[in-house]
Symmetry: C2
Subunit: 366 residues, 2 copies
Amino acid sequence: MSREPAGDARSLRLRRVRDRLHEVRLDGLLVSHLPGIRWLTGFTGSSAFLFVEPGSATLITDFRYRTQAAEELVDGVAISIAESDLFVELGRCLQECESGPRVGFQDHDLTVRDRRVLGEKCGSVLWEPAGSILEDLRATKDAGEIDSIANAVEVAETALSETTGFMTEGVSETELAAELVYRLHRAGSGSMPFDPIVASGPRSALPHARPGDRRLREGDLLLIDFGARVDGYCSDITRMFVLGAAQPWQREIHATVLEAVDRAIAATSAGVPAQDVDRAARNVISEAGFEKYFGHGTGHGVGLEVHEGPSVNARSRETLGPGNVVTIEPAVYLPGRGGVRLEEVVVAEEGGRRVLTAYPLALREL
Amino acid sequence: MSREPAGDARSLRLRRVRDRLHEVRLDGLLVSHLPGIRWLTGFTGSSAFLFVEPGSATLITDFRYRTQAAEELVDGVAISIAESDLFVELGRCLQECESGPRVGFQDHDLTVRDRRVLGEKCGSVLWEPAGSILEDLRATKDAGEIDSIANAVEVAETALSETTGFMTEGVSETELAAELVYRLHRAGSGSMPFDPIVASGPRSALPHARPGDRRLREGDLLLIDFGARVDGYCSDITRMFVLGAAQPWQREIHATVLEAVDRAIAATSAGVPAQDVDRAARNVISEAGFEKYFGHGTGHGVGLEVHEGPSVNARSRETLGPGNVVTIEPAVYLPGRGGVRLEEVVVAEEGGRRVLTAYPLALREL
């Protein structure tokens, strides 16, 4: 069963990109960033350019993806197989195309070296940095995309439920991560959106811990931050466990973070500045006296990439719109003792929000 | 047990980089590419710059990695924690540093947008593309690095041996991939160097197939291309299986590819142009009449990245040197029927080579 969007959804996306290009007076756009190519065309290969003009769109890839491109591509996108390299083929396409001279490129993706090659091999047009045209559009998810993210949440939660039986004294973080990844794949996840974080005891206070050799002990906090991927779309969830009975300080920081999650979710709605959502979480943590133990933003957008727009932090300038899907992940990290982070996935809607995550947020005693 | 290189090895690497900078008249180098930062300093975090000067080296990272950086860094590398962003902190370091004005950056890694920010926030020096200084040095592995790659090969082969019992009729490619990944992690692999390719039947003829829902059937060719990661170093191996008795055409293309592997390995030695190794493999396949069914290069370097220098193809200009570690992976893909690829990992040495892979190359009938 494929949940890939119908061709209609992708045609609409191409139309929106063309509208934006028209607004910023660009005659075309070179899409080099693979998640953007997938979003517009359905192509999932690892090597391609997409050239969008007002009247046409061409995917340029190499011989390895000839069959796959033909199977995956939406109607209205032509395929061009590069004989030697993508830039040479792009140069050839540009010679034939009828678009005007001003073509945008994705300056957040193209390297300085590739930009030089672009000038050398595709110099028949004027190249201009296109900013975040595509990323801004991708931040608003349609119903099909939200379904895919919801499915990725469900797969992740199923796998987590099946892994709790392994959370016992003596098991190492890496062993637990291996069990979790196995169950994620078995439950239907594609490639991991990121390597799961499994951090126990004092290591739960490291915001970006990787699983290590440490073995679980009685009294440990256990932080699990992970996700699944379904139809290319990611989920990103964090839950907390404790081995045995939770100690008062563990309960205290957990209750604080849980309250911060609740407040931030309650603040999430279309029309609300993203920094207000961050502030809602941060205020709870500050009032509890833990301000200096929460050093990162409250959340980020999630979609074909596990980190995308909009960001939810104190410096965010975006206002949330309907269809933005963001994580809410406040935390309190007590160095040398342990940390608590809880992470939900939430869709902003008109007048409210929909929470996609369902696994209980309680500090579960094992 | 850590197999991380001693500080001595890393000090030597820093010295070599400084020698190269002197040769190309650069007063410093900004390393933005994370595998290069790891190679030089031991730092494994996901966000950092390394600024190398003749007399000092400074790692710039953010608060999340304060503890980790202090634990991982080799002697002789200072740590600077960025308060807001890495560019601002780099700008501050540059104001304080005593190096001359010409500083290199990694143009194959830095995006056009980041290059602009570099000019805006770190404009006190002259930025120049540094080319592949670091990548060229990294292509020559020392004994410790070769040990790590050999360990990553061993972990991969152990996991493959433990997975063959699952290669039975009715199992899907994705299920088989999940079993393999699980055993890779259990055998000691860190994050996957790439998602394993498990391609059965006609899908084995797709050079970059991803595991799909297809279930194994009697008579299928089964191609498995995968790797492990140990201490950051990757392995990359391909082996072939067949469900039941192999058919003559399957035996024929397997024998051809095996002969191509043998010839290419026999050609691998320090002092040999990499394109000669490619030609050795390609000639065998051409003589057997399958030239047009082998569309990619014969191999690539492997190390902290699964694809790095030197490349081994018809356009390669590199001459192999002692300590180059490359894959040898010729193939024959018959569209709609099936394909065979075999992949070995080989170290070029003076007067010969050392093959790190040991799992039998035979077409194994299951």
